[in-house]
């Protein structure tokens, strides 16, 4: 933190700081009933999608095809709910000021909070999604009509791969929402910022891509541009490495490396942004006041 200066903090102390903050944050999440309700709600929605879509009765890949679009909205929403107050909570109550007097750096604090929230994401999103996979595995049977639509190989491993990409998508949104929460001044502004992240991410990326294409950008650049947004990267990876496995596409959906780097970049960017805001926020505020005083 940027409180009173103290001696150099060693690696062991940093790790202990991360671990201590992580445990506290995880306990907080575990004791928040709303997150359990969120997991149940998400589970109901996902089961509903595979039941209504019919793909779940056929196999993993058909189920993923049914889940793909809803997941692009539901997972970011759940991730934003998990992250929109992550760094606001301690700042709003004033406890962050107290924590600043202890030997835990901003990086340790941010890492501890985010890691705990990512574990929560794995449980809240990954739990229901995994149960859907188990359900599909236990109940799916060949269905000629649907199989014709979703032809090709099928495997639980493809579903596991899908789950990994789902987690990557959620992690990107959670981290960005958490990072943005560091600049929120109240719960209301945190909700507004979280909604902005959600709408901007889910709709903004694709709209920006369409705008770019209509402005004359070559269609050949679409895979590269698509990979830049979390949703585009996720969708491209699923097409490339899950659905596409079943029918050998002629062109690449997205460059895999760029898409993975994009998801990692959004995740890391959210963490760095949140950390920078916590570390520098007071100095920036003081600098603004200094300018005001000089006027």
């Amino acid at each position: 933190m940027t409180g009173p200066k103290r001696g150099r903090v060693g690696l062991a102390a940093r790790l202990r700081g991360v671990d201590t903050v992580f445990r506290r944050e995880l306990a907080t999440v575990a004791r928040t009933p709303g997150y359990a309700a969120l997991a149940v709600g998400l589970g109901v929605a996902l089961f509903g999608v595979v039941a209504v879509g019919g793909g779940g009765a056929t196999g993993f890949v058909p189920a993923i095809v049914d889940l793909l679009l809803p997941v692009e909205a539901l997972v970011p929403a759940a991730a934003v709910v998990l992250g929109y107050r992550a760094f606001l909570a301690d700042a709003a109550t004033g406890e962050l000021a107290v924590i600043r007097t202890y030997p835990v750096g901003v990086a340790s604090y941010v890492a501890g909070v985010l890691l705990a929230r990512l574990v929560a994401l794995a449980v809240v999103v990954g739990g229901p999604a995994a149960l859907v996979g188990v359900y599909v595995g236990l109940t799916a049977a060949p269905d000629t009509g649907i199989f014709a639509t979703h032809a090709g190989v099928d495997s639980p491993l493809l579903y596991v791969r899908f789950l990994a990409f789902v987690f990557g998508l959620g992690a990107a949104y959670l981290s960005v929402a958490a990072g943005v929460s560091a600049i929120a001044s109240s719960r209301r502004s945190a909700i507004a910022l979280g909604a902005l992240v959600l709408v901007g991410g889910v709709l903004g990326g694709d709209l920006a891509l369409l705008e770019s294409l209509s402005a004359g950008t070559s269609a050949a650049a679409t895979p590269d541009l698509l990979a830049l947004t979390p949703n585009g990267a996720f969708r491209g990876l699923v097409f490339e490495h899950v659905i596409g496995v079943a029918f050998a596409p002629e062109t690449d959906f997205v460059p895999t490396g760029r898409a993975l780097a994009s998801l990692a970049g959004w995740t890391l960017g959210g963490a760095v942004g949140g950390g920078a805001s916590i570390a520098l926020g007071r100095r920036v505020d003081a600098a603004i006041e200094r300018v005001r005083s000089d006027e």
């Binding site: 200066k5 201590t20 109550t93 004033g94 600043r100 835990v104 007071r282 006041e289 200094r290």
Partner: protein
């Protein structure tokens, strides 16, 4: 502003010529202050800048201008801090709350609870503690890790007389061990009973500061209550508006507070 050095050899923390404004409104204006082992009480009217001064001294509030230094910079936890509003996260017990902080500085939460007399409430959730208990828990937190400076912002606020005394006494008990305990309070009787030094803040400036006995003599008053009234220029009930002491250090609009660190 003052360009005099304010810290002496015993100073454990000091602020030098610090100012702070919020939204363009100055709440602290060119204040210099250093604290040394013992109990330093910070008093002043509401909105005078006490909390801002304490926040800056604790290193949790960034001054608009000025310097802050802490003598125990090499310590694991040089400063202990209790904000005016006790901020602990709901859903955790008193023991769990202190365990979180204790783990960061290798301190035993149960010993800390015992020190403030909260052992019986260790398993109570923070939100179910009374206001007094929360403040005692806050004091226990601030004193965890044996900081060389403990900054407590109105630890006795809103408490009944017994709890107020207990909160003050608990904090003051650390002073003989070499800790600089800085407490803001409106309870001048408790200040009289426990403080070694006094800082009177008024309208963002230090109106008076120094060892309590010396200030009484300088201002020719009997009690802290009288000293407070005279120092902030509101008279002593006899109609006098102010009574600056002989040899007052305030010159050319600046505040020079050498007395605070005097032993």
């Amino acid at each position: 502003m003052s360009d005099h050095a304010v810290a002496d050899g015993d100073a454990l923390a000091s602020v030098s010529d610090v100012s702070r404004s919020y939204g363009g409104v100055t709440v602290l204006d060119g204040v210099s202050l250093s604290v040394s082992p013992g109990v330093t009480a910070v008093v002043g009217p509401n909105g005078s800048g006490k909390s801002t001064l304490l926040g800056i001294l604790a290193g949790v509030t960034e001054p608009t201008t000025g310097e802050v230094s802490h003598g125990g910079a090499g310590a694991r936890k040089p400063i202990g801090y209790l904000p005016q509003r006790v901020p602990f996260r709901d859903g955790f017990t008193a023991r769990e709350t202190l365990a979180f902080y204790g783990r960061l500085v290798d301190a035993d939460p149960d010993a800390a609870l015992e020190r403030v007399g909260l052992s019986d409430a260790a398993d109570k959730r923070v939100e179910s503690l009374s206001g007094g208990m929360r403040r005692l828990l806050g004091i226990a937190q601030a004193l965890l890790g044996d900081p060389s400076v403990a900054v407590l912002d109105e630890p006795a606020s809103g408490l009944d007389p017994t709890m107020r005394e207990r909160a003050f006494r608990t904090a003051a008990e650390r002073a003989p061990e070499g800790t600089a305990v800085v407490i803001s309070s409106h309870d001048l009787e408790l200040v009289e009973a426990h403080a070694d030094r006094l800082v009177v803040v008024d309208r963002g400036r230090i109106a008076a500061a120094g060892p309590l006995d010396r200030l009484r003599a300088d201002y020719d008053v009997e009690s802290v209550d009288d000293l407070y009234r005279v120092a902030i220029g509101r008279g002593d009930g006899t109609g006098e508006e102010s009574a600056a002491p002989a040899g007052d250090d305030e010159t050319d609009g600046s505040v020079h507070v050498t007395g605070v660190s005097d032993r």
